[in-house]
Symmetry: C2
Subunit: 188 residues, 2 copies
C-alpha cells in the first residue's frame, strides 16, 4: 500500500489524497471506487500493516537468533538498523499514527491497538519460552509491554535528537534489567 508509506512517514493529515494518487500512479476515481474516503484507506492500511508484522519485523530477527531472550534484542537491533538506514529519521509507523490519529478516529485507534497487541504478543511468546529462566514473580505480559514501551520511547528520542546514542542508552538499560532478572534464577 503506497498510501501507508506516505501516512507513516509524513503523517496522515500532512498527506493529501492527491499526493497518494500521484505516487501510486492511480486516478482519483479508482481509489474512491475501492475506498469510501481517506479515513477508510487509513484503516485498511493499518489492517494490512498487521499482516506484515511477522514477516517483516519478527521473522528476520527470529531467524537469526534461536534463544528467546536474544530474539527480543534481535528485534530491537533491527529497529536500530532502521534508524541508521534512514539517517535517524525512522519512526515506528504504528507509534507515529498512534499519536496522530487516536483522538479523532476510534476505528483507526482500534487497529493501532491491535498492531501493538500483536507486537507485544510476539515478545511475550519469547518470554514464555524463557519462563524457566525468569523469576516466578515476573509478569511476562507486563514485561512484554515494557519492551514495547522501551522501543517506542527510545526510537522517539533518537529520532528527535538525531543521535543513535539515545536509542542505545535505552536498550542498554533494558539489557541490564534483563540481566538482573535472568540472574535471579541460577542456570542448572
Amino acid at each position: 500500500m503506497t498510501a501507508m508509506e506516505l501516512f507513516t512517514t509524513q503523517g496522515y493529515e500532512a498527506t493529501s489524497v492527491a499526493e497518494i494518487l500521484k505516487r501510486a500512479s492511480v486516478n482519483s476515481g479508482s481509489l474512491y471506487y475501492f475506498f469510501d474516503n481517506k479515513h477508510d484507506l487509513l484503516v485498511a492500511g493499518l489492517e494490512f500493516f498487521k499482516t506484515l508484522l511477522y514477516p517483516i519485523v519478527m521473522q528476520p530477527a527470529f531467524s537469526r537468533e534461536a534463544d528467546p531472550i536474544e530474539r527480543i534484542f534481535a528485534v530491537l537491533a533491527d529497529y536500530r538498523h532502521r534508524l541508521l538506514m534512514t539517517d535517524l529519521d525512522y519512526e515506528c509507523p504504528v507509534g507515529k499514527l498512534a499519536l496522530e490519529v487516536a483522538r479523532h478516529s476510534p476505528a483507526a485507534r482500534e487497529k493501532i491497538a491491535e498492531n501493538f497487541a500483536a507486537w507485544r504478543d510476539h515478545m511475550r511468546d519469547c518470554l514464555d519460552q524463557a519462563a524457566d529462566r525468569l523469576p516466578a514473580s515476573v509478569d511476562r505480559n507486563s514485561l512484554a509491554i515494557f519492551v514495547l514501551t522501551t522501543m517506542e520511547g527510545a526510537v522517539m528520542q533518537a529520532r528527535t535528537h538525531r543521535d543513535i546514542s539515545f536509542y542505545d542508552s535505552s536498550i542498554a538499560n533494558l539489557r541490564v534489567y534483563f540481566g538482573y532478572l535472568l540472574s535471579e534464577v541460577p542456570s542448572t
Copy 2:
C-alpha cells in the same frame, strides 16, 4: 498560548489557523502581526513550553517528595494522573509533536529536543543526588534517558489501548529495575 493547546491535543496539521483564532478570540491580522506564519507560532509555543516544564511538571512532584528517587516516580505518578483526568486521552504534548513535526521542520525538531533534554536533565539531577545509593557502574545520564523513554512509551500505549494498566505495567517494571540497582549498594 491557546494555539499550543490545540496543536498538542489535535496535532499541528489538524489544527487550522482559523480554529486557533476562534478559540483565542483573536483576529487574523493580530496573529500575523506577531508571528510570521503558522510554523513560527509552533516554534514560539515550543519555546514557551520549555519555560513551563519546571513549574508545571517538576515542581509539584518535587514538592511532595524529598527523596530524589521518589521524586522521579512522583513525576511519573503525575503523568498517570493526567491520563486518568483526561479519560486516557492524554498524550505528552512534546512527544506528540516530536513524531508529527520532526521530519519537516528542523527548527521545531530542535525545540522539541530541548524540551526532552530539559526533562531528562531534571531526572538526571535526581539521580545525581542519589549517586551514593546507585552502583558506580550506572551511567546516570543514560538512566535518565531511560526514564523518559519509559514515560513516553507507557503513555503512548495506555492512550492507544485506553487502559491505564499499560502505563502501570511499564512503571512497575521501571520500579523493579530501580529496586535491583538500589539493592546493589547496601545502605549504611
